[in-house]
Amino acid sequence: MSVRVRVPTPLRKFTQGSDEVDVNGDTVLAMLEDLEQKHPGIKERIMDESGKVRRFVNVYVNGDDIRFLQNVDTALKDGDSISIVPAIAGGL
């Protein structure tokens, strides 16, 4: 499955500045692993050591928060749009 990932500003140093990248994976977890393969270092900013999405990171599949789907086991299909969004809105 080829999906498009929107990358937030703080993580663009891993994607050579790109705000969108194309990766593969039939689940969110597989997608994140492929993202790490292509952009080393990015996954640990999104997931903790136990394999859970960090509490201050929200991952959306076609606009739906994966916490309300099947989390990292959420299935993906070709052309899905993924957004990785920091859970905060920045400076005070």
Binding site: K13, R45, N58, R67, A87, I88, A89
Partner: protein, 331 residues
């Protein structure tokens, strides 16, 4: 002993019986000792929290917002017919919206679309208009969009520009710093605040150092560019605010989001203090400092209370961390 000191120092902080408007209640916030969460420190070390949530707009940002708006009225940059506009992810927006309503100026705020629902609602309830910026671009995206809107009609707006307006840190120089010095009767040895715009740590820090150059000024900063400490900035990966002068700091302490959240949960259950994540970060840094001391009075700024984060990840994900410190989250 400190109780006695506080009684002596209480008079300047006593609330007036009656004021002519809500903005007269900005500042003069209480200082409270953090006792249980700080156990294990040397006997001569105390940690005090400056509870900025007691400001009428609910956060420390009432101080710079009022300072910048008053200054603009005085020098003619804000006059009837102009709209106050700024980019803000929340607390400054709430402060500006409140003050705008109190003084009769329309307010327009540019905020990242992922700002919490309760913040959006509070801003709207003060009658302010919200323009949303791309959440993936964070606060820097809001800054850029706001600049664009102002450039299209520069005469229509007054932009406080909290990141670059020296009145931001000046407000803390004139109020937060003196209050802390007075409330501790000059015994403060370490001052700790998070860095958002840098206004608090710069302004209050400058005042305290002028009073007593031995006072150490310490900033708490997110440990990574991808973090969950709403209100704080990771300077190395951000547009650096013009009012932020790192060389004036004695120390900068990186704080992880997980540690700050854990501290928030502990404060709520061990102290009865329900605060926001930037307060948790400030206390993590304050404890880092306090553990190295044998004597001292460490003052940490708690920028706001926790109730306005109920729909954010701070609270919606707390169940994911049942094993936080020694606190039982079985409720």
């Amino acid at each position: 002993m400190l109780t006695a000191l506080n009684q002596d120092a209480a008079s300047p902080l006593r609330r007036p019986r009656k004021v002519d408007g809500i903005i007269e209640l900005v500042g003069n916030t209480p200082l409270v000792e953090v006792r249980r969460t700080t156990r294990g420190l040397s006997r001569g070390v105390r940690v005090l929290a400056k509870l900025e949530g007691f400001n009428p707009g609910g956060s420390v940002k009432d101080r710079p917002a009022l300072g910048m708006i008053r200054d603009a009225i005085d020098n003619g940059r804000l006059k009837p017919g102009r709209t106050i506009i700024d980019s803000t992810s929340g607390n400054t927006g709430i402060a500006i919206a409140m003050i705008g309503a109190a003084l009769g100026y329309p307010v327009r705020l540019v905020v990242p679309a992922n700002v919490s629902e309760e913040r959006k609602n509070i801003i709207r309830l003060f009658g302010a208009e919200i323009v949303y910026s791309d959440p993936l671009e964070g606060s820097d995206g809001a800054i850029r969009l706001c600049r664009k809107i102002v450039a299209e009609d520069p005469e229509g707006y007054f932009k406080p520009d909290q990141y670059f307006n020296p009145m931001n840190s000046q407000a803390h120089y004139e109020t937060t710093g003196p209050e802390i010095y007075r409330q501790t009767e000059g015994r403060v040895t370490h001052f700790v605040a998070g860095i958002g715009t840098g206004g608090t740590v710069m302004g209050a820090g400058r005042f305290l150092k002028e009073r007593d150059p031995r006072i150490r000024v310490i900033a708490a900063e997110p440990d990574s560019e991808m973090h969950g400490l709403e209100g704080l900035k990771h300077m190395a990966s951000s547009i650096v605010p013009g009012i932020y002068h790192e060389e004036e700091l004695d120390l900068k302490i990186p704080v992880s989001t997980e540690d700050a959240y854990e501290m928030v949960y502990r404060l709520s259950q061990e102290e009865g203090l329900l605060v926001g994540q930037s307060s948790g970060a400030a206390l993590v840094a304050a404890m880092d400092v306090a553990r190295r001391l044998t004597h001292g009075t460490v003052v940490a700024v708690f920028p706001d209370f926790g109730a306005r984060y109920m729909t954010t990840n701070l609270w919606t994900t707390w169940k994911e961390s049942l094993d936080v410190g020694n606190v039982d989250f079985s409720i």
